[in-house]
Amino acid sequence: MPTVDQAVALGLTEAEFELIREELGREPNEVELAVFSLMWSEHCAYKHSKKLLRTLPTEGPRLALGPGENAGAVDVGDGWVVAFKVESHNHPSAVEPFQGAATGVGGILRDIFAIGARPIAVLDSLRFGEPDSARSRYLLDHAVAGIGHYGNSIGVPTIGGEVYFEGPYEQNCLVNAMALGLARGDALIRSAAAGVGNALVLFGASTGRDGIGGASVLASAELGEADADKRPTVQVGDPFAEKKLLECSLELLERGLLVALQDLGAAGLSSSSAEMASKGEVGLDIDVARVPLREPGMEPWEIMLSESQERMLCVVEPSRVEEVLAVCAKWEVGGTAIGTVTDTRHLRVFDGDELVGDMLVPALVDDCPLYDLAPEPPAGPLYPAPPRVLAAGVRNSREVLLALLASPNIASRRPLFEQYDSVVQSRTVRRPEQADAAVLALPGGGAIAVSIDGSGRRVACDPYTGAVEAVLECTANLACAGAEPLGLTNCLNFGNPSKPHIAWQLTEAIRGLADACRALDVPVVGGNVSLYNESADGPIYPTPVVGMVGELPDAARAGRSGFTRAGDAVGFAGPFRPRLPGSELAKLRGEALPDGLEEIDVAALRAAQEAIRDAVRAGELSSAHDVAEGGFLVAVAESCLAGGVGATLDLGPVRSDDDLDRILFGESPGAGFVVSGSEEALRRLGENVALDLFGTVGGDALDATCGDVRVTASLAELRASHAALEQLFP
C-alpha cells in the first residue's frame, strides 16, 4: 500500500491524503493514489483559484456555451457559433520549448474540436526574459518553431499573438495558446457521458509512458534546479496524427455517431473519463488491458496517467460501435472500445478481469478541497528595476523614438509571425501587422476579429488596474478593426499562491478582470489558470492574458492600422491621459516600477472605443490604430510603417522638456487612437469622441513638430529600428 510519503511526493498534502482515505473508507492502492494525485492537483482541480474564478461574470446575450465545457462559445449569427479558449503550456515549454509549445497548440486545438467545432485559428501569447540572454533566445527560437510546426502542419492558421521580453520571465517563460473554432450552433457536442450500457471508445494515438505526471509534477510546482530531469514528463506532439484525429472526430460527429466526446489532456485517461462520468452523473468501467500501448509492460496506473498526445474518448451506442471503428479506420486512426457506461457513479479500473481501482466519481471531481487564499500586499517592491538600456543623456525625441521602435517589446514581430501559416482555410481578411486585431471572414459575409493581450509589467505595477488595462487594450484592438466584443477567455499566469503577495496579485487581478468585464458587458466564456510560475530568481510578473472575440457586420470594412492614402488627415482621438511611470520608455531608462497606476474611467474609454468602432464599420476611416507601448509617437510611426507612407504633424505648443516626453511617449492603455481619413470624416468622428486634427498623410518620412521641437525620421530609418528582432533569427 502507498504511504503518506508517496502521496506527498505526488504533490498531495498530508491532509489531502487523509481525506482520500476517508473518501475510500480504506487505504488507496497504487492506481487510486495515482489518479487522485492528478485529479486533486492544482492543474486539474483549480484548488487555489476556483473560488476567485466564480466571481467572474459569465452571462451574456450572445453566449452559446459558457465555462465548464472544453471550450466556450459565442453566437455569431446565421446559426453559427465561434468556440474559443486560451490555455497555458508554460512549464513544459520552460523545460523543452519546442515540444512544450507544440503540444500546447495541439492540446488547445483538441479542446476546440472536442466540442464539435472545426479549428479555424490559433493565436499565441509568449513571455521571455530579455533577448540578450542566450537562454531567452533559445526558448524563443524553439517555442516559435514548435508553435509553427504544429499549427502549420495541421492546417490551422496562426493569425495573431503577442510577445513581451522582461527579466522576470528569464527562467519561467510563458507560452499561452488560444484557438478558435467554427460550428453550427446545433452541432455542438457535450462531454457528459450518458446511456448506461453505452460503449466508451478510445481513439487516436496509442498510449505510451510520455507525459506521466506532467500535470502534477510539472504544472503544479515551482521550477527548480532539477528541471532537466523532468524532460521526460513533457509530451511529444505529432501534428499529422492530430490532423487525422481532427478530421476523424468531425466526420464521426457529422454522421451523428457520438453521444459524447472528450479530449485527453492533462492527466490523460483519468481526467477525461472522470470528467465525462461526473458531467453525466454516471459511472464508467474501464479495462486498461484493452488500451493499445506503445510499449509493453506498462502498469495500470501508467496507462491511466499517460499524457500521450492526440487521443480522444467518446461514448457510443453499442449498435454504432462498428460504424465508429470504420470511420477511424478510414482516417487511419486507431479505435478501441475500452469500457462501458454504468449507473454506479464509480470509476472502476480493470486490468482484464481484475479490478485494480475503484473510486467514487464525485470524490475525484468535486471533493478536492478548495483553499482560501491569504492575500497580503507586499511590504516592498517585489521586482528589481529593469536594467537601463537608454543612456541618461538621451533626451533627443528622435533618438528616443528610434530606441523605442527597436525595443524588443515594440519592434516588428515579423521574424516570428512569418514562421506561421496565416492564410490557410481562406478566411484571413487581416493578417499580422495589417490591423490591430486579426480578422477572419465568416460564411455569411460578416467577420470576427480576435486579439490577445496582457502586459505583465503593468499588472506588476498595479494588479487591479493592470488587469483592467489588459481588457481595455484588447477591446481597443477590436474597435480598431471595427469589432464589437462578444466574449473573453483568460489565462491567469501567476506565481505560487501560497505566498501572500502572490495571492494578493491574483486576487486583485481577478477583481480587475471581473470589474472590467462587467463594465464592458463582456462575459468570460472560459479560461485557464497557471500557478507556481516561479524560479529561484523569484516570481514572474503577474500575467493575466486576455483573449477576445468580436464581430463586425461586413468583412470588407475591416479596419487597418496603416496609413493608406496620401493627403488623408491625421487625427488623435480618445480620453488619452499619458503617463510615463510603468511605460516602455521608463523601462528603457531603468526606472523602478511605480507602486500603482493611474485610475481608469472605464465608461469613458468604452464610449471612445465604440465611437472608433462605429466609424471603422461605417467605412469612414482609412486607418485606426490604438496607442499602446511606446505612446503616441510610436503609434504614429507604426501607422506609417504599416502603410508604407509618411506623415507630417503639428502637435502645437508644450510647456517643458519633461512634458514633451510625456506627450510623445507616455502611455494610457486603450484610451488613445491614431486615425486617418478625409478631414470631413474625422470631424464627424470628433462629434462622438474627443479628437484633435493635427496632420497629413504623405511623403516618405515622419515629421512631427511639437512646440519648438521637431522630430523627423525617414521611413527607412523607422523601418531599420523597427526590424530589431531580425537579429534574433539569423
Binding site: S153, G155, K243, E332, E418, S422, S426, A441, A555
Partner: protein, 222 residues
C-alpha cells in the same frame, strides 16, 4: 470543366483549392480520396498543399505511393492537366512527373509571406490568362521550397521555356535556383509551383492574381 483535388492524409489546402477552382466561371470541383484510384472522370487534377503523411521521411515521398497517384501518373501520360501546389509540387517531383527537387529553405525555417511572382512564360495551359512579365501577388508558405535541378537539367528548362513563374527581383524567399517558383514538364500538361494561387483568389483576403492559373486551365480545356 471539372477539377479534382486530391485529399491525402495530412493535406491542408485541399478545401481552399476546391473553393478556388469553383471561382472559375463554369467550373466545378470535387475532392478525390487518396485511397481511391478512380479519378471519377475529372478534367484536371490538383495536388494540394499541406503535409501529406506528415511530410515524414521527406516532403511528398510517401504520398507518391498512394493508390490515387498511379491513376494521376497514367492521367498525365495521357495528356491530362495536373497542377501541383506546394506539397503537390513536391509530390510531382518525387513521382518523377516534374524534373528537379525541393530542398529546405536557405534559412531553414518555415516562411509565410506574400511575394511577387514574375510570369516568365504566358502560355497554354497554365499561364495563358497572364501576360509575359506580369507580376502576380501570391503567398508562399513552406519549409521545403528551394527549387533545385542539376545544371544540365536546368539548362534544358531555361532553353525550352519550361520555367513558367519566377520570384520577382529581390523577392526570392527560399533560395531557389534561378529564382524558380514554378516549372512545367516537357509535354506542358503538368505544372508545379511552390506559391499558393488558391490563396490569391479573393480581394477580401488580399489578392485575386492566383485565379489566373485556374482560369487558364479552364480555358485550355475549352
Amino acid at each position: 470543366m471539372r477539377f479534382g483535388v486530391v485529399r491525402f492524409p495530412g493535406s491542408c489546402d485541399e478545401v481552399d483549392a476546391v473553393l478556388a477552382c469553383e471561382r472559375v466561371p463554369g467550373a466545378s470541383a470535387q475532392l478525390l480520396w487518396h485511397g481511391d484510384p478512380d479519378l471519377h472522370g475529372v478534367d484536371a487534377v490538383v495536388l494540394p498543399g499541406g503535409f501529406s503523411y506528415g511530410d515524414y521521411l521527406r516532403a511528398g515521398a510517401i504520398a507518391r505511393f498512394s493508390p490515387v497517384m498511379e491513376s494521376v501518373v497514367a492521367f498525365s501520360r495521357a495528356g491530362g492537366l495536373v497542377l501541383g501546389i506546394c506539397n503537390g509540387f513536391q509530390v510531382l517531383c518525387e513521382a518523377g512527373l516534374l524534373p528537379g527537387a525541393l530542398l529546405p529553405n536557405v534559412e531553414r525555417r518555415f516562411i509565410c509571406r506574400q511575394v511577387n511572382l514574375e510570369v516568365a512564360q504566358a502560355t497554354m495551359p497554365f499561364t495563358a490568362d497572364c501576360s509575359a512579365g506580369e507580376l502576380l501577388s501570391i503567398p508562399v508558405k513552406h519549409t521545403t521550397g528551394r527549387y533545385y535541378a542539376p545544371p544540365e537539367v536546368l539548362d534544358g528548362l531555361e532553353t525550352h521555356g519550361h520555367i513558367l513563374l519566377r520570384y520577382a527581383a529581390d523577392g526570392n524567399p527560399n533560395g531557389s535556383t534561378n529564382d524558380i517558383a514554378g516549372v512545367r514538364n516537357e509535354a506542358g500538361n503538368v505544372f508545379g509551383l511552390m506559391p499558393h494561387p488558391e490563396h490569391a483568389v479573393d480581394p477580401l483576403t488580399g489578392s485575386v492574381d492566383g485565379l489566373k492559373i485556374f482560369s487558364s486551365m479552364a480555358h485550355a480545356h475549352g
